[in-house]
Each structure stands twice: as structure tokens, then as C-alpha cells.
Amino acid sequence: MSWLEPARIHESAEDRDLRESLGQLLGFSARSFFDVEPTSKMIALAEDLRREALRRRHTSRRKPVWMLLAAGLPLALAVSALGSWGFQHKQRADALTAAVAQKEVELQNMVKTAGERQVQGTQPTLISAPVVSAPVLAKNTTQHGKVKARPNGELVLEVKTYQSPSLDTQPVKGQ
């Protein structure tokens, strides 16, 4: 038959032998099923089916590409708008974070420089403070306590030990 498919025409000899041996096992006389002459009724039915297939092929047209694109356009626009909005917000947040970090650094620098200035401002007064001589000091301190001056100029302050009366004795009842 002229319509037979290559898959069957080019069947290997091994497969043909296998089919023949199986046919013999089954007692089945292998006859050609593919030599059927089409009757007029069969041809009419075949034509009906072919026309039906053509009709379906023409009626069930695929939707054009532009229709699919048009249907997907709003969704694509919404997605892109959301994306750009999110991107802008992210950039703004990044800029704000960077500004805050820079401000913090500036503040730290300002605190540091202010501290250094304060230290530098107090040091000259300490350095330029007049050295009080021992006699003057002795003279000034005679009013408050005894001050002894050693020959080498060192000052010796008398230390008064403080004694709490409540800690020395403790009244015990019954003695």
C-alpha cells in the first residue's frame, strides 16, 4: 500500500521473523490487513471526516499574537510601575541612610575636636600657675594647721587621724 508508513516499511527482518513465529505459535495465519479496497460508502465517510477536520481547523483559529500581547500589557505595566516605584524608594532609603551615617561621623568629629580644644585650653593655665614658695605657704597655712618646713624646702603636713567615738567603744548592757 502506498500510504504505509516508513516505520513499518523499514521494519527489520528480525521483527518480521518474530511476528511470523508468534503467528505460528498462536495458530494465526498472518494475512495482509493493509490490502483493503475502499468502498464508496467508506470513501464518503472519509470525506465527511476530512471536511469536518478542515472546518474545525478554520473555526478554531489561534488567537493572534497581538491579542495576547494586548491582554498581557496591563499586567506588564503594573509590574513595571511597581518595580520602578520600589526601586525609587530603595534609592531614597539608601541616600537617607548614607546621610545619617555621614552626620554621625561629623558629630563624632565635632565632639572629638571640641574635647581636644578643651584640653588644649586648660593646659596653659596649669603651666602658667605661680609656684608658691614655702614661707608664703607656711604663712598662709598657719591659720588652719601646723605646717612644718624642712630645710630642703619640702612641705610636711601634719595628718590628723580621725577617730569615730562610736566605733571605739560600745556600751554593753549588764556589765
Binding site: 500500500m1 502506498s2 500510504w3 508508513e5 516505520a7 513499518r8 521494519e11 521483527d15 518474530l18 511476528r19 513465529s21 508468534l22 503467528g23 505459535l25 498462536l26 495458530g27 494465526f28 498472518a30 495482509s32 490487513f33 493493509f34 490490502d35 483493503v36 479496497e37 475502499p38 468502498t39 460508502k41 467508506m42 470513501i43 464518503a44 465517510l45 472519509a46 465527511d48 471526516l49 476530512r50 469536518e52 477536520a53 478542515l54 474545525r56 481547523r57 478554531s60
Partner: protein
């Protein structure tokens, strides 16, 4: 490079399609009936329409038809669009699928019934329907090697039935 013209039908020109239809249609009806389809004629017709409707070429049209009939019969889906195209009035007495099955010996049918359904399916398509291994693999959606294995195992079971006392096993 010469481009071959696209054939009018999956089987070639109109005449070749008529020949293919006359050959395959009764066999497809019988195949659908074997799967317990209530309306095997409608299913076979629907399979032809689906095949002809396709714009992309089908590599194995026969396998495609058998596979479609099998699927439609298994899903018990009755095609509603083609009810006016039944072949009940077209089939001539003695040429229907029942008559064709009667041509098989009762002994053959009994022997095949003893096989497991998996092996029986492959054996039926290979021997009785005369389809190639490749077509059967397309229909059953299994590899060609599996089809061959099933056929060889079916053959071994048949040999065991014929020679129950022993003998050389075909796969031994």
C-alpha cells in the same frame, strides 16, 4: 535545497487517505471496542478528525490514531461533535470488527486470554494489528526496548502453555 510540497493529508494525497481510512477505520473500531468503549465508531472517527485537524505533521499517523482511540476509550469520553457520522450504516455485513475477530481461531483467543494484560496488549498490536515495534512504543508510550521485552515474554508464556512439561525457554 528542494522543499517538498506538504501532503494534503497525513497519509499522502486524497486517494492514499481513502485507502488508509478503509484499512484502519474498522481496525480502530475493533481496538476501541476491546477497551470497552460504548461508542467505538465515534471514537475512531474522532481520532481521524483530530489527526486531520492537526497543522503540525505527525511522524507516525497510524500510531497516533491507535493512541488517540486508546486514550478516548480509556477516558470513556464520547465525542459529542460527530454523532451524525456514525458508521453503523456504513459497515457492510461480514466486514465489521466483530466479524474480523471471529476470523481468529477460538484457540488463539483463548491462548491470548491466558496472558497477562500487559503482554497481551503488546502482542495483539504486534501480531494481530501488524504494527511495528516503534508504532507500538508510540501508542503505549513506552520505550521500544520495553515493547520488545513484553513481546518476548509473551512468546515465552505461549511456549510454556504449548509445552508445559518443559523445554527450552525463549528468554533462558
Amino acid at each position: 535545497m528542494q522543499v517538498l510540497p506538504k501532503p494534503e493529508t497525513p497519509f499522502g494525497d486524497i486517494t492514499q487517505f481513502h485507502e488508509a481510512f478503509a484499512t484502519l477505520y474498522p481496525r480502530l473500531v475493533g481496538y476501541g471496542r476491546r477497551y470497552g468503549a460504548g461508542y467505538p465508531e465515534d471514537i475512531a472517527q474522532e481520532a481521524f478528525v483530530i489527526l486531520m485537524q492537526r497543522e503540525e505533521p505527525v511522524e507516525h499517523p497510524t500510531a497516533f490514531l491507535y493512541g488517540t482511540v486508546r486514550t478516548l476509550a480509556l477516558t470513556e469520553r464520547r465525542p459529542m461533535k460527530n454523532q451524525n457520522l456514525s458508521l453503523e450504516v456504513v459497515l457492510e455485513p461480514g466486514k465489521g470488527p466483530e466479524a474480523e475477530e471471529h476470523l481468529l481461531h477460538r484457540e488463539v483467543r483463548e491462548r491470548m486470554q491466558t496472558l497477562s494484560p500487559t503482554f497481551r496488549e503488546a502482542l495483539w498490536l504486534f501480531v494481530v494489528e501488524g504494527l511495528s515495534i516503534r508504532e507500538i512504543s508510540d501508542i503505549l508510550e513506552i520505550p521500544e526496548a520495553t515493547v520488545k521485552t513484553r513481546i518476548h515474554r509473551a512468546k515465552a508464556q505461549l511456549k510454556d502453555q504449548l509445552n508445559p512439561s518443559g523445554g527450552v525457554h525463549v528468554l533462558a
